[in-house]
Amino acid sequence: MRGLTQFIADIRGARVRELEEKRINKEMANIRKRFKDGNLDGYQKKKYVAKVIFTYILGYKVDVGHMEAVNLISSPKYSEKQIGYLAVTLLMHENSDFLRLVVNSIRKDLNENNEINNCLALHAIANVGGQEMAEALAEDVHRLLISPTSENFVRKKAALTLLRLYRKHPEVIPAAEWALRIVALMDDTDLGVVICVTSLVMALAQDHLDAFAVCYQKAADRLYRLVVEHEFAATYAYYKVPSPWLQVKLLRLLQYYPPTEDVTLRKVLHEVLQAIMANSAEPSRNVQHNNAQHAILFEAIGLAIHLDTNSPLVTTAAVLLARFISSKETNVRYLGLDTMAHLAARTDNLDAIKRHQGTIILSLRDKDISVRRRALDLLYSMCDTDNSELIVGELLRYLKIADYGLREEMVLKIAILTEKYASTYKWYVDTILELISAAGDHVGDEVWYRVVQIVTNTEDLQPYAAKVVFEYMKSPSSHESLVKVGGYILGEYGHLIANEPGYSPLEQFQVLHSKSQFCVAPTRALLLSTYIKWVNVFPEIKGQLVNVFERYRHVLDVDLQQRACEYYTLASRPDDDELLQNVCEEIPPFPPRESALLGRMNKKHLDTEDKRTWIHGGKDANVEREATRKNTRKLTLGDVNGTGATNGVAHAADAAAGQDATNETINSLLGLELSTSPSSGTAPAFPNMQSAPAAALAEAGIPRLTVNASVDRWYEKLTYTADGVLYEDVQLQIGIKSRYHGHIGQLAVYLGNKVNAPLTSFTTTLHVEDPDAVSVSFAKLATNTIAPRTQTQQLIHIECKKPFSKPPILSVSFLAGSHQTIAIRLPIVISKFVEHVKLGQADFFERWKIIGGPPREAQSIFPIKLDDAGHIDIARQRQVVSGYSLNVLDGLDPNPNNIVAAGILHMSEDGKVGCLMRLEPNREAKLCRITVRSTSEAVAAEMQRLIQKPLGADSIS
C-alpha cells in the first residue's frame, strides 16, 4: 500500500498544522471521489479505509468510509478483514447504527472454523461492546468459549470478551445458567485459559455467589496443584513463581465465599497457605520476584484471615505483617497496614496487633497520604476498651495536623470510637467536645446530634456536660458546631448548674449570646429555642431574653422571624400561665437506637467495584454484617424453595437500606417510625422467580435434579438397602455402598466411566438444604478426570445432627464432548441413622401408650398391591421395614399379618429418639394402615412417609 505510506509520510512531514489539514482535506476529497465512483476492488477499499482510519486517529472528523469498512469485514482476505475490523472498532461507537449491519458478519466469523477470524471478531465485540451487540452475540461468544474445538487462544479471548461484556451489561449475560459450564473450564490444562476464565469467574461469582459455588472447590484444587504439587507448564513461571497472577486471582476468589465447612477443603487450603508462607520466607532474588511473592503472600494472608483467625497460620501472618508495616518500601507498608486492618476486623484477639501500636501510630505521620489513610483505618479497627483512650488521644492530636481530605473521616471515626469504648461518661464528653472544638468545619451534623442524644439519655452526665460545654464556650473563638451543642445542652440542663458560682443564668446568657452574631441563621434559630427554655427556668433574666426576641422579630429570615414572634408571644404571657411550662417540659430520653455515625461510615464502602469481603471496624461490626448477609441469603433461598418464608423481613431491611441519608439521620434523631411497608417501592427480591424457576434455582446454587423413572426407582430402593446402583446412563454409572453407625455414616460412591474417552473436568459437589441437620463431606478432593472404562471411588462422610427430610443432593458434572451435569439425591434419609432395638411385648406397648396419639403419632391409610396369588406380600413388607433399620418384632401383635417394629434414631445434636411402628395390611380392602409413633413429631412423620412409599400401590418398584 504505497499510497498509504506516502500519505502518512506527507502528514508526518507537514511542518505546520495548516499544511497537514490541507493534505488531509485533499486526500479526503480524493477518497470521497473514489468511493462515490464505486467499482473499487478489495485492495483499493482497504487502502482508502486505512487512510480514513489514519485520519481519524489523528483527531479529524471523518464521515465517509463506514459502509466500505462494513463491506471489508465480510471479505475473504485476512488483510482486508483486519482493516475492516479495525475501522469498525475505531470509527463506530457502541450506539452506532452501522453496528446492526456488522452483527451478522461478526457472527459469521465467530462461527467459522478459522481461529484468526474468530479472534478478530472477539476483538471487535470486546472493543465496541454495545448493548445490542452484547445481546446478539453473547451467546456465540459463550459457545466459542466452551466449544471443545476452540483453540486455547480463542478461548482465552472469548473469556475476556465475556468479562468485558459482563462488566458493561451485566443483565445480558445469563451468568447463573452458564455457571457450571464456565467453572468447568477452570480445570483446563492450559494455564492461560485458566487465568482468563478465573478473571471471568471472579467478576461473575461476586454477583452470583451461590451459582458459582463450585468454583470454590476448583480454585482450592488448582491452588493445591500449583503451589504444593508444582504442576504447571514452565512458561507460566514468572521468576520461578508459578503463575502469580493466577494464584492471586484464585486466592481472592476464595475470599468471596464464606469459609468452607468442608474439612477436606479446609485441610487443602491450609496446606496451600502454609506452602505460600513458607515460600515467602526464602530471600527474594530481585524486584520482580519479590513483587510476585508479596502479591501472593498478601492475598494468602487475606485468605487465611478470612478462613479462620485462630489458626496458627494467622499467627505467622501477624508476625510477617508486623515486619511489613515497618518496611522501607511504601507499597509494602501500605499493603501491610491494609491487611493488618483486615486482621483487626476479624480477629478475636487483638494482642498481636497491639504489640505494634507504636509503629502504627507512627505511620500516621508517614510521608505518603495513602499510607496515612490505611494507618487511620487500622487504628480504627484495632481500637478496643483497653487502648481506646490512647488511640483516641493520639488521633485527636493528629487531627490538628492531618490533611484536610482526611479530617472529616477522622472526626467520624473518633466520634464512633469515643462513643463505643467510653469507659466513663466524663471522658466521653471531654473527648467529644475537644474533637468538636478542634475539628470545627469537618464535624458533620451527625456528630453533635449524637452528643445531644447521649447527654439527654444519661442523667448523671447532664450537669457535667453543661459545665464543660460552658467552659468551652468561654473561649473567644468557638466553632459553630460547638455553639450548637452549647445552645442545646445549656438550654436543657443549664439550670442544673445555675446555682454554682460562675455559672449563673446571666453569665450563661452572656456567653451564649456573644457567639450568636457570628453564626448562621439555623444556629441562631437554635439559640432562640434555648432562650425560650431559659425564660421558663431563669425568670431573673427574662427581661434580656424578651429583649432579644423583640429584636429578632424584625429580621428578614423567615424562620428566625417566626420563632422570634412565637417565642415573644409565649414569653409575654402572664407568669401564672402554664402553657410556657408545658411547652418547655424537659426533653424525654431518646429511644435507644443505632448510631447514625456508623451508617454514614459504612456508606462509603459501598461503591467499589471489586468488593471487599470485610469492613473496617472491630470484629463485632464484621460479625453483624456477615449475619445480615447470611440472613438475606437464607431468605432468598427460602423463597426459591417455596417453603413459605415471607418476604417481609427482607423487604423491611431493603426499605430501611433504601432510605436516603437525611431520612436516616432524621429518623434516628426524632425516633419517627417511618412506615416500611413492603409496598413502599421496593421490588421483590427476585421478581422473576416464579416465571423462571430454573434460572432461579441456578441463581441460588441449587442443582436441578435429574429426573426420570429409573432414577426415582434406584433412589427409592437405596433408601432401604445399603448398596446398589444410584444412577446409570450410556456414559456414567454411579454405584453406592454405605455403612452407618449411630449418627455417623460413610458412603462410598463409585463413579464409572463407560465410554472410550476420558471424562474431564470431573466435578462432584454435594448440596445440603439444611446443613445444620445433616452434614456431608467428601473425604478428599476428587480427581478431575476419569480415564476411559475405569472407575473411581469417593468417600462421603455423613453426620446426622437433627431430624431432616430432604436428602443431600450429589451433583456430578463433567466434560465428555459437551458439558453434562447430573444431579441426584443421595439415599441418605433419616432411617439410615436408626438402629435396631429389641423390645418385649410389655415394653413395646408401654412405650406405645406413653407416646400417645397425634401430634407425636403419624398415621395414614394407603392402598397396596397384592401379589400374583392375591396375597399380601408380607415377606417384602418385612424386608422393607427392616431395610429402614427398624427391628421387626415378631409375636407382639396378635394378627400375624401385622408388622410391629422399633428402632432408635441417633443424632449428634438432638440425641436419641425412639421410633415405634405398626403396619396393618388389609387384604380385602387392598389397603394398609401405617402408624408411626415417636417422641419427635418430625421423626414420626418422616418415618411414616418413608416406609409408606415403597409399600404403597403407586410404588414404582
Binding site: 511542518r15 505546520v16 498544522r17 490541507k22 493534505r23 482535506n25 485533499k26 479526503m28 476529497a29 480524493n30 470521497r32 471521489k33 468511493f35 462515490k36 464521515d63 465517509v64 468510509g65 463506514h66 459502509m67 452501522f98
Partner: protein
Amino acid sequence: MISAFFIFNQKGEVLISRLYRTDLKRSIADVFRIQVVSNSDVRSPIITLGSTSFFHVRVNNLYVVAVTKCNANAALVFEYCYRFIAIAKSYFGKVDEESVKNNFVLIYELIDEINDFGYPQNSEIDTLKTYITTESVMSTNVPAEESSKITTQATGATSWRRTDVKYKKNEAFVDVVETVNLSMSAKGTVLRADVDGHILMRAYLSGTPECKFGLNDKLVIDKSERSGLGDAVELDDCRFHQCVRLDEFDSTRTISFIPPDGEFELMTYRSTSNVKLPLRVIPTVTEIGTSSVSYVVTVKTNFNNKLSATNVVIRLPTPLNTTTVDCKVPNGKAKYVPAENVVVWKIPRIQGGQEVTLSATAQLTTTTHRQVWARPPIDVDFQVLMFTASGLIVRFLKVFEKSNYHSIKWVRYLTKASGSYQVRF
C-alpha cells in the same frame, strides 16, 4: 515592564530568548510552550498564569512573546512586539523561522537596543539603521567618525531625524492604503463594514522641514468651519507617528510634524460610516437534494469605470463531502481546491461598472452522519488603485523649511481586501 522576550517556532522550540530582568527564569519558556503552544484550546493573545503574563503575536508560524510579571500596559507591549516585527522585516525582509535562525546575532543586537531593563527605547527603523548595520544595511549616510552624533540625535528634540540631511531633489510621497473589512448577511444586509487606513509617507526632504498635512476629515473641516464641502469623512481612532505634534492636533486639529528621513507610517485610522464597497457579490447557492449543490455567483464592480479592480480572488466554500465541481466562468479561471474545501475563482482585472457571473455545480457523496452544511462565508480578495473606500482625500501637504526650497509631492490611493471581505449566502 517587559521581563523577557522570546521567539518560538511552531513546535514551541525557543529560537530567541532574552531576559531583561532577573524576576524570571529561563525555564519560563517551557511554561509558555506547554500552556500555549501545545494547548490548542488557548488562542487568546494574553495568558496570565499565576503572576506571570504572556503576550504573544503570531507571524509566519513564529510566536513573538513578551513576558511580564507586573501589570504592564498591554497595548504598549503589543505595540512593542509589532514594532519588533516591523524592524525585523526592514532588516532582513521576511520574518520566519529560517530568517530568525540566520540573523540571530542581529536580532539580539536589535532587541538589546530597542529595550533597556524592560523599558522600550527608540525603535525608529531609520535611526536604528544608522548604527546597527549588516551587510545589506550599510550605514552609508553616516561616516564612522560621526557616530558620536548618534547620541546627540537619540537624546535630542527630534530623535527620529538627523539634522544634516541633504537632497538634490526634495520629494515627498504619500500613500493612502485602505483595507476594507466587510461581512454581509445572506439577505444582502451589511452586518459590519469598516476601513482600516494607513497613511504611509516617504520623505526625501533636506534640512529640518516642517510639514502640514490636511485631509477631508470631518473634525478638521468642522473645526475650520468650511462645512460647505459635503464629502467630509468621519475618522475614528486616529493614531499618529511620534513625530506628529499631538498638542497642536488636540488644540487646532492640524497635523504638523517634522518627518523622519525615509519611509514611515504617518498615521493610521479607522472609518466605520459611509463605507463605499468596491465589489458587490450576489450569490445564489442551492442544495439540490443531498447529492449536489449549484452555485450562481455574480460579482459587480461599484466604482468609476476608469478604474479597475485587480487580483480579484473569490473563494466559494463547498460542502465537506464534495467530490467534484464543474465551473463555468466568462472571465478569469475557476477551479475546485479540495485541500481547502473551496472553489477558487481568480480574475486578473475587472473594469469599474462591470459584472461577471460564475455558475458551478458541486457533486456530493453520501456521508455517515447527516450533517447540515455550515455554509461558511464567501471570501473576496482584491485591489483597487486610486480609490478609497472611506472616501478620504488628502487635501494638502505643505512643507516649510528655512531655506524655502521647492518640493514635489505625490499622493497615491489604494483600497484592498484580504481575508476579511466576506459575504454569507
